[in-house]
Symmetry: C2
Subunit: 242 residues, 2 copies
C-alpha cells in the first residue's frame, strides 16, 4: 500500500472556509505543492522549512491517528495541503474514511486530475488569481470541471477564488463566467499570514471583507455568488493546528 | 390578490447566516410574529414601534420595488420577518420570483406550516431555545419536518438553532437528535442588539463564537453540525438595512 506524506493531523475543529464553512471536521494536511503562491498561508508544506516533520503514513495509520486524537467526536475529515491532488494514494484514504462512515472534504487548485476526485463529498477547486503569481492552465481546469459536472448531482463540487485586489476580482469573474453552473465562492485574501497581532488582523480582514462584498454587490456578473471571510483567521488569527 | 405586510425591502447585500451564508441576496422583511423572543433582533416587526412603516403590498408591487432598487444585480431574494409563515400570500411572491429566475430563501421558527414551504429554495427552520422564553410546539415541528423530509432531495431544508447559554445548547442537541437527517446549524446569539460600539460587539461575538465551537467540538452528539457566527453583525454591527 502506497504512503501519503503527512505534515499535520489535528482536530476536531471547524472548517473556516468555502462550501462547508463552519462544519465540524478533522484536518489532515499533506506535504508538497506544484505551485508556490506569493501569499501561500501553508508555505511550510512545500518550502522545505518543515521537511523534518513530514511522515510517510499509510491510509490505515492516518485513520488510526485520527481516531486516537478525535475519538468519537468527528464524522468528517478535511484533506488539505499543499496540493493533495499530487498524491494518488489519497484514494485509499477516502475509501477507508467512507467505510467508517466519515465524510471527506478536499481542496486543490485544479492543476491536476485524480480519479478519486469523484469520491470526495465536498470538493473545492480553488484556481489561483494573478496576485499569486501562478498561471492557471485552463485546459487542465476545463477538463477537471467537465468531468466533475457530469457527477455534480451526487457530489456537489464548488469553485473558490481568493481575492486580494482588483485584478484578482476580474479573474474571479472570468472563472465564474466560464463555469456558471458550478457553485461559486469568493474569499477575502489574508495579506499578512505572519502577524500575531490578532486585533489588527481581525479589523483588517473585516474591512477587506466589506470591500469584497461591495465589489460583488455592485457587479451584475456576480449574482449567483457567495462571499466569505476565513472564519478561522477571525477566531484564531494565524495560529496553526486549530 | 392578497397583500403582504412589508416593513423593509433592501439590498443587494449578503446573507449573513445559515445554510447559504455569504450568498448575494435582496431582503424582503415582513411584519408580524406569533412569538416575542426575549432577545429578538427584529422586535420592530411585531412590537408596534414601526407600525407606521408597514405597507400592504402585492407580490407584483414587491417585485417591482425589488427591481427598482436592485436592478440586474441580484438573482436571489431572502424573505425574513417577523414570521413570514403567518402570511399565506407569500406563495404568490415566491411563484413570481421563480418566474423571473430568482431563487428564494426564507426563515421561520417552525410554529406554522404553509404549503408554499415546498417551493422555497433555501428554507431554514429555526426553532427557538429556552433563553427566548418561547415554548416549542414539537407536534407542529414534527409535522413540518416530516413534510419537508419527503421533499428534502429537491429543496434542501435546514435547521438552525441560536445558542446563548448551556441550556440552549442542550436544546440544540435535542433538536438535532430528533431530526438527524436535516442539515443542522448552530449560531452564536447576539445578546446586545442595541449597542453601537462595533469594536466591543465584534470581540464579544468572536469570543462567544469560539466558545460555541468549543462546545460542539467536545460533544460527540454534535458531529454532523455546522457552527456559524452572524457575518452581518461582524461587518455592520447592529445597523439595519445592510
Ligand atoms: S496552491 Fe495552495 S498550498 Fe500550493 S502554493 Fe498555492 S496557496 Fe500554497
Ligand atoms: S420568532 Fe424571530 S421575529 Fe419572532 S420574536 Fe422570535 S426572533 Fe423575533
Amino acid at each position: 500500500m502506497a504512503n501519503i506524506p503527512v505534515l499535520e493531523i489535528f482536530g476536531p475543529t471547524i472548517q473556516g472556509e468555502g462550501m462547508v464553512v463552519g462544519r465540524k471536521t478533522m484536518f489532515v494536511r499533506t506535504a508538497g505543492c506544484d505551485y508556490s503562491c506569493a501569499w501561500c498561508d501553508s508555505a511550510f508544506t512545500w518550502d522545505g522549512s518543515a521537511k523534518d516533520d513530514i511522515r510517510q503514513l499509510s491510509a490505515h495509520e492516518i485513520w488510526s491517528e485520527l481516531t486516537q486524537i478525535g475519538g468519537k467526536k468527528f464524522d468528517h475529515v478535511t484533506i488539505s495541503g499543499g496540493n493533495p491532488a499530487l498524491i494518488r494514494a489519497i484514494g485509499e484514504l477516502v475509501e477507508l474514511l467512507h467505510e467508517n462512515g466519515v465524510k471527506v472534504a478536499l481542496e486543490t487548485q485544479g492543476s491536476r486530475w485524480q480519479d478519486w476526485f469523484e469520491q470526495i463529498d465536498d470538493l473545492t477547486i480553488s484556481p489561483k488569481p494573478p496576485s499569486s503569481r501562478m498561471e492557471t492552465n485552463f485546459d487542465v481546469l476545463d477538463d477537471i470541471i467537465t468531468r466533475l459536472s457530469s457527477k455534480a448531482r451526487e457530489m456537489a463540487p464548488s469553485l473558490k477564488v481568493v481575492v486580494f485586489n482588483e485584478e484578482d476580482f476580474h479573474y474571479a469573474k472570468e472563472v465564474h463566467a466560464r463555469y456558471p453552473d458550478i457553485p461559486f465562492f469568493v474569499q477575502v485574501g489574508n495579506e499578512d499570514v505572519h502577524t500575531s497581532d490578532d486585533g489588527e488582523l481581525i479589523s483588517t480582514l473585516l474591512r477587506k471583507y466589506e470591500d469584497l462584498i461591495d465589489r460583488v454587490v455592485e457587479d451584475e456578473m456576480m449574482n449567483d455568488v457567495r462571499v466569505l471571510p476565513q472564519l478561522h483567521a477571525l477566531v484564531w488569527g494565524n495560529k496553526r493546528g486549530v
